[in-house]
Amino acid sequence: MSSTDTSMAAPESDQALGAQPPAEIARRFDEVLLSVDEISLSFGGVKALTGISFDIRKGEIRAIIGPNGAGKTSMLNVINGFYHPQEGTITYQGEVRKQMRPHRAAKQGIARTFQNVALFKGMSTLDNIMTGRLLKMKRNLFWQALYWGPNLKEEIEHREVCERIIDFLEIQSIRKTPVGRLPYGLQKRVELARALAMEPTLLLLDEPMAGMNVEEKEDMSRFVLDVNEEFGTTIALIEHDMGVVMDISDRVVVLDYGRKLADGTPDEVRGNQAVIDAYLGVSH
């Protein structure tokens, strides 16, 4: 595989940061990070996904769109190992993946946020973000029981990482607030922070802007773009707001009734007749 890494992509992405990037100056990505081939998934008799194939390339922002019930969330669940497709293969970082549990996916650098916020309600914002660092912490039970010394040093190192993320997402003031008390928009932001704390290679965002007002959406879009640019994180996101999707994503895949309808740049997808039919409805 060629090693077109993120440092190449980063300068180009400046254009994506503008309020309205000209769509024709699209960024180019060559290295495939993850590809799904002919994925089919069903529950009992219900087919959630049928023969879906697409890829996600290193460094890009990839959007998955489609009407409700199209199988978008199921697709993310398949990618991070929560659902096991009956057919098809997933290739991640050049290796065909076997059936596995989600924590293995986490170890391989796949992080995600959820459609319905899935924070740890009994813990503070800081502790929630610190859970994202769990995989990176190495001290054994003995040191943890002792706490002082090497364990404290490690705690502080990771605390510093988390504090950087807190600064980045501008949530300093709610550091010690139990997340259950936060408004929805902030909870979504904390969830993003937790995912970022994992320093993921691939970040899956499930409707990161659902239920937000315009201002909050703008903030969130900015964060998504910044993450992509500053950390070079590859991002796959599900979003219903077409304006946002068309603005920030490099490529879009469209699902409907568990099938792939279209795949391409925002412009290609926008012009696709099948997509227009699916969204606007068409009389047969």
Binding site: F43, T73, F82, F114, Q115, N116, A118
Partner: protein, 336 residues
């Protein structure tokens, strides 16, 4: 239940019973100190099944409340004890048992109203586990309350059910099969109760409301189902079921504190049958009752006896390891 599942049960259950029987026969052939005849096996099995119906009676109360309010009511056992104590107390005061039954039912309705008002209403929409622990509080309170009111001596509860053992099928096996008549009556009562409840749940308007409440408190409220009334009704019904169970258990063992603990045996029945299934409670009860009786009589001797104390729990736990959703539960699909 689908017809296919039903056939599987009708063929499978006797099959398992026969296989275990042959297994014991084989052991008996190899080991002369192991006593086994088919007649004796049948006798133990039937005694166990009848005992199982009694477990089902208690389990039924749990299922009712769980179905209607999503509350895992740990206090059902103490409700059984409390009902039996009240019944005996009233009969000792000279009331005819029919009158005592009516009066006790009235008392249990009052208890239900109090539980709804004092415990459930303030805890609407709390996590289930909080409600569960609250019912442990009710468990303690009712235990103490019943005994404060009626004392803690062992009392005899007799409403005239014949208790002489009878022999059936004398021609088929030597000496016939010994059955306790009391258990037969108890089983019949249980059967009738289940049938009535099933109709109540499936066919009446209030039954449908109950099922809606079980799914989601707030959603049910929002479509205009009166939560308070529903809860009061369902706890009253559960109280009545507890009373029937209390009369049966109390008649069999005497009314005493241990009744509340015997009711704990209904818990493995529940996890076997699934918390929301009335047929599950029945079948689970039969399996636990027969299983523990057979295990105690034929296998208990090898390990020093009294394995009844834990056999039901172990059986249920091992079962859950392989089928976490219980006998009749739907396979759980987790969503995020």
């Amino acid at each position: 239940m689908s017809p296919r599942a039903l056939t599987a049960w009708i063929l499978g259950a006797p099959g398992v019973i026969l296989i275990i029987g042959f297994l014991f026969q084989a052991i008996a052939a190899a080991n002369s100190s192991f006593f086994f005849t088919w007649g004796y096996y049948a006798e133990v099995l039937i005694a166990g099944l009848l005992q199982g119906v009694m477990y089902s009676l208690v389990a039924l109360g749990f299922v009712l409340i769980f179905k209607a309010s999503g509350v895992f009511n740990f206090a059902q056992g103490s409700l059984v004890l409390f009902a039996a104590l009240t019944m005996v107390g009233l009969m000792e005061m000279g009331l005819h048992w029919v009158l005592a039954l009516v009066a006790t039912t009235a008392v249990l309705v009052l208890v239900a109203l109090a539980v709804e008002r004092v415990v459930l209403r303030p805890l609407v929409n709390q996590p289930q586990i909080i409600l569960f622990m609250a019912t442990i509080g009710i468990f303690y309170f009712l235990d103490g309350f019943g005994q404060t009111l009626w004392g803690s001596d062992v009392k005899v509860l007799d409403i005239g059910i014949p208790r002489d053992p009878i022999f059936i099928l004398p021609g088929l096996v030597e000496g016939g099969i010994l059955i306790n008549q009391f258990d037969l009556y108890a089983a019949a009562t249980g059967g009738i109760l289940v049938a009535v409840l099933a109709v109540f749940f499936q066919k009446t308007r209030i039954g449908r409301a109950l099922r809606a409440v079980a799914d989601d408190h707030q959603a049910a409220l929002s479509v205009g189902i009166p939560l308070k009334v529903i809860w009061a009704v369902v706890w009253s019904v559960a109280g009545f079921v507890a009373l029937i169970a209390g009369i049966m258990w109390g008649g069999k063992l005497g009314v005493q504190f241990t009744l509340a603990l015997i009711a704990l045996k209904a818990l493995p029945v529940l996890i076997l049958g699934g918390f929301t299934s009335i047929p599950g409670a029945i079948v689970g009860g039969l399996i636990i009752g027969a299983g523990e009786q057979v295990a105690e009589v034929f296998l208990g001797g090898f390990v020093g006896g009294a394995i009844q104390d834990w056999f039901a729990y172990m059986l249920a736990m091992l079962f859950l390891l392989f089928r976490p959703q219980g006998l009749f539960g739907e396979k759980i699909i987790e969503r995020v």
